[in-house]
Symmetry: C2
């Protein structure tokens, strides 16, 4: 028997569910409604459209075989009815109807459903500061805004810009404005680091350093307090407590929140922060109403808590699951580990699971292993260093998260995706130590970086490795005012250590090359803690084990070593 | 209490175990013996050394921080004794001694052990054909051979070469000879396809087509029957049943077998094919003797059978596990899924788990899903098609294997590694359909290719998708002699279909564009089976569902579509 399906929201989850359902139940009547006239687009592609990598907005609305996904495409190719410029005003669950308004004619009517899907997405926050409504201030809320931003730039109206918000969209937009258009762009983030809650600070610091290399000033711990306009109501500057920054354009990318008013008004359960409550089959508290995409509350598989995971990839997978369940096939979506990946100029940064900071806050017996190995065989041309941090629970040895920072290729993606599959299944450090990474020199090292970081975690858990945090070491180095109770033991090649010894003196910077430690350990001080330094931390660990064995227990290994220090940057680095 | 450890074999697993063990038990006395003078090298890097990507053989013997891993490095930096040019002649398990010979002095002696490790590696097969011992015939057995090959080429002595064996090393060597040196190289494989038992034939066929594009004639199903020499005993040609091929050099890469004579002679359990039997802690049948690396028998986690997995990556991980267990830490190696990856010129080919052919042979209710999606968002610059095939069991829905073929980047690696982690844990199609791949347009499509291929498998299992194999379709197309009971229904864009309709006529090649199917289905024939063709198979599936719904059940979808056909190549393709 044919059923009538109504889907509210036509960007990602909605169209996916509609098309899948039409394949499962070809005689069902499926209607998608959306208040916009542009539907079914790749919203995540907006920064690449603004920067010109994607030349035409229609590419974001096209299939991989270059057909525009508009109303007639859905009607002709898919057999799905799409009503654009149509707003859902309310749901009458008893009558099973949705009250809709045609935004062009103003006409209102009711549309009946047997099953209803909410894929209403998310909407950007707007900071409640003066000037937020000025001409030239944009949120990245839909394709219309993106088109307007690009037109303004293309017409030469933007020489300087401020991006407010150092999350993924903020960073991507800052790159987009700078890279092709050469707009002088400043990035503001009110939290103490970029990508807050997504990565731990060393990763945020490496990203920040790279953005600054690319001439984007990044001000963290700094809020926009006011957006200033001229007499025509056009933005001219952004004020913070510390400075005023000239700007012809302001991008406000301070997060999004679920669009769930319709659900709440219909009496469906909604989390306090706005996510629509769904079960594993993506049914809301009304079994005839499903929800998917950016408007729902997902379960974090690591913490067990409800979480907000607004990503086009999840929306598509959830859309398929809604369709299956509506059609009578049991299909479940159990939750997310929170995988994240981003391009930033010539670098890639990724994460899955939870950060160390979050793990501590969630009450885990948390620790982390940081290392900086090669992304492929060290002798293979084009090999590059990639920094990985594994977050784990010391008690259960469960891996809670992984973060990666490397050059712009898929090498971070490889490890983040593999880690996500394992973390979702409760994998331990030992599972990571033996996970089978396909090996050939052009693709990985014989000891893959994912295995390598698990080895470090294993050594930490076993009490073999005693580390000092990068934060503590860098703070020490910056505080040169007073006598310290520690020295550096730099075990790199003499060519590498010489400028440091020269700058800091032999009292603070002891240099003994790695292969000479076993014959020269008598030279090392006993009265101070030695911070052992190499490029990645691997040799330092080996030296620490040896020194402890011969009785010198006054050492700490700087995990990540110079590979991380150099990527974060420090004023005290010679030259 | 200090213990004496002897390790026989100093390439990969042996040195790894020695160094790890020294970190766990710094006062133990650890000796590695090897009959060669060159030790601890990246054997997998040999093809890249021969082709010049790696300019110096010493790079293969160096650490990532550019130190040569020779005897003095192991002594000074690691505290490990290495005896090179020292052959192990026999093991006296009762006395716990190894009889050794100094190959330079001829002196023999006994060396005592508390625990012994065998990491004796593998040795290449030599074909038992006339001329196998001629000057200019090489196996890739060690670094000395590699150096000799490169010197011979560098001295201009090699204009033409034949590589016997179309496995990974054979293909890599064929590329190495052709790419930098411009040597006219021919590849012979006696099985009907390249990479036999590793990938299924469509993947081997795509690889073959790419090698031929790069001017390497590939002759499959063809054995070398004789290697012909001149009067000086130098190779001049290779004979097969079908031809004689001029050659100044012959590389024999017809597989390797475990070096386990020492183990067998000492009465340790050895598989009939030569792999040393070990338990999960990598102990041989003598609990004081461990074995790791290319000389052991591993467990295939998909079939449960013993398997041979000679890879430097596994050897390294196993070496660490041996050290842990020797030191008293329980550490296990449960088996392998058989991950494989390889660069071949501008392409990458990878696999994990078992092939469809193997799955059928192993008695699974095997089927496969083939598709050819984009490796990242289709609107992102540099996006490329990647072909994936998932092998699964219809009854349990367990995924048994995955194969991938794409351009030379890490996009295949991402999916193979994630799949390996899942397959090792018995994951089903549904686990793959929801696996969380980190998403941003520069890294993946919103529906990642790993999710996409699982969707195809799901549709096959559910009886929604009815496919025809690429083999059957290509055989039909090649057999143009007789009247056929099928026609092609090509649903691509008219610009793409026009040359086909022109060449084959409207009786054989029916072209109706995808978005017009719903309005023009009356034009389609009822008396013949329609093979629905598009680029990847996705649109074809959708059209099949619609046609079945309106009563036309006479259709089959060609999985992989034109994306696969074009990569395999066919004489009948227009132009």
């Amino acid at each position: 028997m044919s059923k009538k399906i109504v889907i509210i929201g036509g960007v990602a989850a909605g169209p996916k569910a509609a098309c899948r359902l039409k394949r499962l139940q070809p005689d069902w009547d499926i209607t998608v409604i959306d208040q916009d006239n542009l539907i079914s687009y790749g919203g995540c592609g907006i920064p690449y459209y603004v920067c010109g990598d994607v030349s035409d907005e229609q590419e974001l609305r096209s299939t991989s075989f270059h057909m525009l996904r508009d109303e007639s495409f859905f009607a002709n190719a898919k057999g799905v009815t799409v009503m654009t410029r149509t707003r859902a005003l309310g749901i009458d669950r008893r009558a099973r109807t949705v009250r809709i308004e045609n935004l062009d004619s103003g006409e209102k009517s009711d549309i009946a459903y047997d099953k209803l899907m909410l894929s209403t997405g998310a909407q950007p926050f707007v900071l409640p500061i003066p000037g937020a409504d000025l001409d030239g201030v944009f949120t990245i809320s839909d394709l219309h805004k993106a088109i307007e931003i690009k037109e303004r730039i293309a017409h030469g109206r933007v020489g300087k810009a401020v991006v407010i918000g150092g999350g993924a969209i903020g960073v991507e937009m800052a790159e987009a404005l700078t890279d092709l258009w050469g707009i002088e762009t400043t990035l503001l983030e009110f939290m103490p680091q970029l990508l807050p809650r997504i990565v731990d600070w060393p990763f945020a610091a490496m990203l920040k350093a790279h953005l600054e290399e690319k001439n984007i000033p990044v001000h963290t711990d700094e809020s926009a307090t006011e957006i200033v306009g001229n007499d025509d109501g056009v933005v001219v500057a952004v004020k913070t407590a510390r400075r005023t920054i000239d700007a012809d354009m302001v991008i406000m990318a301070v997060g999004v929140r679920p669009r769930s008013e319709l659900a709440a008004e219909a009496g469906l359960l909604v989390e306090p922060w706005g996510g629509i409550v769904v079960n594993h089959r993506l049914q809301t508290s009304d079994p005839d109403i499903y929800a998917a995409g950016d408007c729902i509350a997902s379960t974090n598989l690591v913490t067990g808590k409800k979480t907000f995971a607004p990503l086009g990839s999840l929306a598509n997978r959830e859309g398929r699951i809604v369709a299956d369940n509506m059609a009578g096939r049991v299909s479940t979506f159990n939750g997310v580990v929170g995988s994240f990946i981003m391009k930033a100029f010539d670098r890639c940064i990724g994460a899955t699971g939870i950060s160390y900071e979050t793990a501590v806050a969630e009450g885990f017996d948390a620790d982390y292993a940081l290392t900086a190995p090669s992304d492929r065989a060290h002798f293979f041309p084009g090999e590059a260093i990639v920094v990985f941090q594994m977050v784990f629970d010391r008690g259960t040895r469960k891996v809670l998260g992984l973060q990666g920072f490397g050059v712009m290729n898929d090498s971070v993606s490889v490890r983040i995706d593999t880690a996500a599959a394992l973390i979702a299944r409760g994998a331990t450090i030992d599972d990571f130590a033996t996970v089978e990474m396909a090996y050939a020199p052009p693709f990985s090292a014989a000891i893959d970086s994912l295995n390598a970081v698990a080895f470090v975690a294993d050594n930490l858990c076993a009490g073999l490795l005693h580390k000092v945090g990068m934060d503590r070491f860098l703070a020490w180095m910056d505080d040169s005012s007073r006598e310290q109770d520690w020295v550096v033991l730099d075990i790199r090649h003499p060519k590498e250590t010489a400028p440091f010894v020269e700058k800091f003196g032999r009292d603070k910077w002891v240099a003994v090359p790695y292969p000479e430690i076993r014959s020269r350990y008598q030279e090392l001080p006993d009265d101070k803690t030695m911070i052992i330094l190499c490029d990645a931390g691997t040799r330092s660990f080996e030296v620490q084990v040896f020194l402890r064995h011969i009785g010198k227990k006054n050492t700490l290994v700087l995990s990540g070593g110079f590979n991380v220090i150099r990527r974060i940057g420090a004023d005290w680095l010679p030259r």
